[in-house]
Amino acid sequence: MDLHFGDSKPTDDERAAVDALLGPPVSSWEGATRDEMRAADLRWARGGREARDRRDLLLPGLHAINDRVGWISEGALDYLCRRLTVPPSEAYGVATFYAMFSVKPRPATVLHVCTDLACAAAGASELCAGIEAQLGLGSGVSVERSPCLGLCERAPAALAIKAGDPVRTAVSAPATVHDAVLAASAPDSAPEEPPAAMAVPQAGDPSLTLLRRVGVVDPASLDDYRAHGGYTALRRAFELGPAGVIREVTDSGLVGRGGAAFPTGRKWQATASQPDHPHYVVCNADESEPGTFKDRVIMEGDPYALVEAMTIAAYATGAHRGYLYLRGEYPRALHRLEHALAQARARGVLGDDILGQGYAFDIEIRRGAGAYICGEETALFNSIEGYRGEPRSKPPFPVEKGLFGKPTVENNVETLVNVLPILTMGAPAYAAVGTAKSTGPKLFCVSGSVERPGIYELPFGATLGELLELAGIRKRLRAVLLGGAAGGFVRPDELDIPLTFEGTREAGTALGSGVVMAFDDTVPLPRLLLRIAEFFRDESCGQCVPCRVGTVRQEEALHRIVERTGAATADDIALLREVGRAMRDASICGLGQTAWNAVESAIDRLGAYE
């Protein structure tokens, strides 16, 4: 490797931010200034594998700089590259990949205003215009229109991030112009966010399984978690042994809740049986599908459950290291989880000798930085490893070559927390919940035009109508979006669709991650479709042609017909279909393959342009 650095120097702040993460530089090669150094150390350089193997600290390093000063300057990037032996061009490629980073100067405070589906339906564009009118140039706040912030139950939402030491954040939701401006200008004095349980209308209901502790336990207290049944599942896991745990999970019929519905037991078994070591456990908490916020509520309301579940997954698959990849827009979940991990380590439920069983496991949190694509399992690996979050081509699959090229089991947050009731209830009792093919309870993220938006837990098999009844269906329902931007629309007369994987498939739609977004007829459908297309255009990683250019061409076509109906749209709809078909067939990953789903369903099922 041929490292070449420019002449730009980091500021003291930038240097301090990087040093806080990596420790002080040990030689002048790493950027220590001469007068600080003993003469003997001047020509000393860390080299070889030891230097290069820290590439995965690139993303945390970029976060450290961005958190401290609000953007990433040439000098700061060069210094970070020097410290990590990373070529500056590659680090620049990584920094420019993520929406939350800027390589151009910007104010220390950034206000992300969500303009995605639920927020758009709740008046985000007026909110945005109002905020932009008040926070213009010179206000010290940069206002950025953002994809879904995962606060759909309180739409419209805004998130303020003020760089400094430490970085400060404030959430304003439901946001008014006044509240959002206040949050951005003084994040410290902004009113406290309501507790996570506010997003769970059923909170406290004793019949709940996955959500039973949300709003009941103190999310900061490990004792409280234990008093409410915490760590009984892990004890049970130690009794069963790794093979026994996998058998229980397989028998339970649990399938992935992130959207792909792959059998979890099979994934665990495939990872556990790989001869290559080490094995890794990765929790995919990069919840970015517009309309999805269930994982946030679990992490904020019951963080120890996720820690315990990851420990069980690791024990079953022979892993001793876990990564929790959390989306960058979830500051409260980050704090709760950091606290939970520290408590768990202090109390011996994480670390070298968990519960005195001689089993070692620890979890590291890695923060995303604004990229929907990083929720794709292999893009997530690249992101953790310090590369651009572009999906890898499969095969090989993660169970064989995953994180750092090693066998990896990657599960969504909701999937993992399902393992706890499986072990405490036993597989047969768990499998008795729901339907034969979709077992267990399922979380649904209900938002949009309903009385009580939030997370609902229902056994698989409940109908869409029953769920919407629970959430308080409003009159003049025009459409329901299932599965988020990558899902599909259904009509108000299709409320008898059973909410199971097989039931939605039979109805020609998809359950996805459990998004149920209701729209009444006040929201013009073509605008929503255009917003979905904009979302995919912005979030395409750019690796493959069908998705990189196809999402642009689709957005252009939807833009042309946003005010048109009938015959005037026929040509563009034909074009959308042809491009959509190639995207579905020829894109590398699920993003491109599903980007056209929702628009297609709106045309075919809802007659959006008739």
Binding site: D2, G6, Y92, T96, G542, V549
Partner: protein
């Protein structure tokens, strides 16, 4: 006598290609089998000296049992696999990929693309006059080569050749995301401020002419570039003892560009700045 290294013997596996039984070495790709069978599958991002990136998706084929189409360039042949290369579905995706590329990128210097556009009946104009294009100006920041990113299809080959697959200079990378992604050095600086060592190995692998010798770029601009008038002479570089092969492209008794044979077992098409660009003394007649 030349000794040809044969390597470890590889098992042959059998599969079906467009209804015919074919055999391929274990580890070979569907594309290898297609080419061995004389089938012309279009490729752009595939490079004979590079690991497949399968980014362009123009080589997609249908494999029985696969939900989506698969890229022939990277998918390894498996025993019993049933591959169909010329179905309506595969041809549709190829057509759309060609339309998407040709409507956004200047493909005037991409070999064979005009032929494929005709073969697949692609109509890049159908997206209308307002369809977004890359709209990049050529970057001319040194005397040796030009980066005309209006012609870039983002195939990643230059990045791979500059990085860990060949040169290990890591001067360039993909920056930005989605349609706004571009090949760039850090901070989008000129090449002269980067780690570039001017080996030109990126030009060697560029499939579209986005990267070209300054001499070629200037001649094209002047309208004097004429490949039919060029001869190619492969010789040995005289600068050092490695003995790299150079192919000199000569027009009107002037060297206009230098490439290297990709099948050369020493260089695999790679050169250094001296072999690639250090030819002026040959034609300095003063």
């Amino acid at each position: 006598m030349t000794v040809v290294p044969l390597g470890i013997p590889r098992r042959l596996l059998e599969f079906t290609l467009d209804g015919e039984r074919v055999r391929g070495a274990e580890g070979s790709t569907i594309l290898d089998a297609c080419r061995a069978a004389g089938k012309d599958i279009p490729t752009l991002c595939q490079g004979d000296t590079l690991a497949p990136k399968n980014a362009c998706r123009v080589c997609v084929v249908e494999v029985e049992g696969s939900r989506t189409l698969v890229p022939a360039c990277s998918r390894k042949a498996e025993p019993g696999m049933e591959v169909k290369t010329d179905t309506e579905r595969a041809r549709h995706s190829r057509k759309i990929v060609l339309e998407l590329l040709a409507s956004s990128v200047d493909m005037s210097t991409t070999p064979r693309v005009a032929e494929w556009i005709k073969e697949y009946e692609a109509k890049p104009d159908r997206f209308g006059p307002d369809a977004a294009r890359l709209n990049e100006e050529p970057k001319i920041d040194n005397d040796l080569y030009v980066r005309d990113y209006d012609k870039c299809i983002l195939c990643y080959k230059c990045v791979d050749a500059c990085g860990d697959q060949w040169q290990n200079s890591f001067a360039i990378s993909v920056a930005g995301r989605g349609f706004d992604a571009r090949i760039a050095v850090e901070h989008d600086a000129p090449l002269t401020d980067s780690a570039c060592v001017y080996c030109g190995n990126c030009i060697e692998v560029c499939p579209t002419g986005a990267l070209s010798f300054k001499s070629e770029f200037d001649m094209r601009a002047a309208g004097t570039w004429d490949e039919s008038q060029q001869t190619e002479t492969t010789t040995v570089c005289a600068y050092c003892g490695v003995g790299c092969n150079l192919t000199l492209h000569v027009q009107d008794n002037e060297i206009v560009k230098v490439t290297s044979p990709h099948d050369n077992p020493v260089t695999h098409g790679n050169l250094c700045i001296k072999g690639r660009f250090g030819y002026q003394h040959v034609q300095n007649r003063d």
